[in-house]
């Protein structure tokens, strides 16, 4: 029998997240012959829309439909999954804020192996799954061997695997609702109340064509001046990485990344930013990326088009002067 790989589908307003089809190529790297099963929880017509959409890419779709699942609350979904996941399964989740909330505990409840934030798979050898992870925000990589004899829960990094729409199936949709709620709605000790939307700020960096983005390498709040001067010379806007917001040096609406804004500029200048995947996850539309960083090994240089290995505190004022000189 073919090995089964189960992928948990994140969806919103009837549309599956990009990670759904990324997990297909991830699953094929685990085992090219694997049978692909999508697991989709939610409620009502929107859930059906997602299931129909996903059935084109997976051999089987397991649907769990209940009003209680209208909002994907990890504490509620964990006991439900514990009840329906076959023992020994390989189960993939996206490494996003839902996956981070749900999966470590799920692996304990199922007594399986666990591995978070995988960026590549190198197949199964002698019953062990060989995976690739990164450490120290991408400065080094590791191979990790996983004992999958009792199953494994894995989160995969969003964007690390290519979306795979090459194969089309007409997957059957299997309603797992009754099985999932055999013992009624799980009693949980955490209750979801509401979503509070992020505040809108003074500049809308999602509309900017030129972004001058500053990270922890700026070292001190007073040094921000040189970044604003450069932005003014270039006619762009200033954005930043998370530590700048954490330090309360800039408002949250200027933060680029998965927990900040998604930007689509033409040109992105990263100053003193190491290039964590959560930061890069907020940059879309393949802009021309310039990175200035004093560490030649900074991961940002792997994705930038042009790199400058210099101390930004010296370099930026020189660059600004030159631009102002040209513009007269």
């Amino acid at each position: 029998m073919a090995r089964e790989v189960i992928a948990y589908i994140i969806h919103k307003e009837g549309i599956a997240d990009d990670t759904a089809i990324e997990m297909i190529s991830a699953a094929h790297k685990i085992d090219p012959d694997a049978k692909l099963i999508a697991l989709v929880a939610g409620s009502g017509p929107q859930l059906d829309t997602v299931c129909n959409q996903i059935a084109a890419s997976f051999q089987e779709v397991w649907k769990i439909d209940n009003e209680a699942l209208a909002y994907p609350d990890a504490e509620l979904i964990r006991p439900i999954l514990t009840g329906i996941l076959p023992s020994g399964s390989i189960v993939l989740f996206p490494n996003n804020t839902f996956g981070m909330d749900l999966t470590p505990g799920l692996s304990i409840k199922l007594d399986t192996a666990y591995l978070a934030d995988v960026v590549d798979f190198e197949g199964i050898e002698k019953g062990k799954l060989k995976t690739v992870r990164q450490e120290y925000s991408g400065q080094v990589s590791t191979h990790v061997l996983c004992d999958i004899s009792k199953g494994i829960i894995i989160t995969v990094r969003p964007g690390a695997f290519k979306a795979d729409e090459s194969k089309t199936f007409n997957g059957s949709i299997i309603d797992k609702t009754n099985e999932a709620f055999q013992e009624g709605i799980p009693r949980v000790a955490r209750r979801f109340l509401e979503i509070v939307e992020a505040e809108v700020g003074e500049v809308d960096i999602t509309k900017s064509e030129i972004l001058i983005s500053v990270g922890r390498g700026i070292e001190d709040e007073d040094n921000l001046e040189i970044v604003f001067d450069l932005a003014e010379a270039l006619g762009g806007d200033v954005s930043c990485s998370r530590p700048i917001v954490d330090a309360k040096w800039m408002e949250k609406s200027r933060q680029v990344g998965t927990s900040g804004q998604t930007v689509k500029p033409k040109v992105y200048i990263a100053l003193g930013i190491s290039g964590s995947f959560q930061h890069l996850g907020g940059i879309k539309g393949a802009p021309f990326i310039v990175a200035v960083n004093k560490n030649p090994k900074a991961p940002i240089f792997q994705i930038a088009d042009v790199g400058v290995v210099q101390d930004l505190l010296d370099f930026i004022p020189e660059l600004t002067d030159k631009i102002n000189e040209i513009k007269g």
Binding site: D101, I108, H143, L145, R190, I210, L234, F288, V290, E318
Partner: protein, 263 residues
């Protein structure tokens, strides 16, 4: 409120270039500067703010070797009431699950209302808190960037989700939370503060004290095992501009002009 905060000693990535050692078995650890995992400082600060408001005490715990003592003391200087080092030869090579089960054994010896961890540490796993909660059968919330104590039975938390939006929950005590950066501004710890706690008592608990069988933790117990370290090869990478600063500036200005980077 009795609060336990889990802290880890990690290489400081803003101070170090992390490199793979010559045989690929580890990173080059010779000249590394270590510090407390960034997220854990926010967890300790949050614990201090809760205690100072409603009373109680804070215990800081770390699984590690003797060097971990230094980070526990730093957090005690910050304001934690006591520290415990969980250390034993057999803990070497422990994976996230083993770390969680070692901490669980310590939790079982005490009486805590709230356990805080950082959202993630140096290897970016973000797993210890969620595993610990499941082992204890306590509720869990990750990526907490807002916390309000309602009464001695429940608290209100905000989880930071995609786009900077916030998911609000009510959660029963006892519970485990992983703390996201930005929830507060961790206080500064000066040399004087560290000196003050230099000789404070710091018990060390090993496998025996914790009642842990060596097979369950450490290298042999791990279901996931790092086999090697390597430098990621992600294609061509950036064109690095060379020359004097003047020359680099010239080249960069030309490139920016051609790409529409100057308005």
């Amino acid at each position: 409120m009795e609060i336990l905060v889990c802290v880890k000693r990690v290489p400081d990535t803003s101070e170090n270039e992390i490199e793979v050692n010559s045989d690929g078995t580890d990173i080059e650890r010779g000249d590394l500067v270590y510090s407390v995992n960034e997220w854990d400082n926010y967890a300790v600060e949050e614990a201090i703010q809760i205690r100072d408001k409603i009373g109680g005490s804070i215990t800081v715990v770390s699984v590690g070797d003797d060097d971990a003592e230094e980070v526990i003391r730093r957090e005690m200087a910050m304001g934690a009431d006591r520290g415990i080092l969980l250390s034993d030869k057999v803990f070497e090579g422990a994976d996230g699950r083993a770390i969680a089960s070692i901490i669980k054994a310590e939790v079982d010896k005490g009486k805590y209302d709230l356990i805080l961890t950082g959202a993630q540490a140096d290897d970016g796993a973000g797993q210890v808190g969620g595993m610990l909660a499941a082992m204890l059968d306590w509720p869990y919330a990750s990526l907490v960037n807002y916390l309000e104590v309602i009464d001695n039975q429940k608290i209100k938390v905000g989880r930071e989700i995609e786009g900077g939006n916030q998911e609000i929950h009510e959660i029963n005590l006892p519970c485990v939370l992983s703390i996201q950066t930005g929830i507060n501004e961790p206080r500064y710890v000066g040399i004087r503060g560290i000196r003050k706690v230099a000789s404070a008592e710091l018990p060390i608990h090993g496998a025996k004290e914790l009642g842990i069988s060596p097979e369950a933790v450490g290298h042999t117990g791990a279901k996931v095992q790092k086999v090697d370290y390597f430098v990621p090869d992600l294609g061509e990478g950036a064109e690095i501009l060379e020359g004097s600063t003047d020359e680099i500036v010239e080249q960069l200005v030309e490139l920016l002009k051609s790409k529409g980077g100057i308005k």
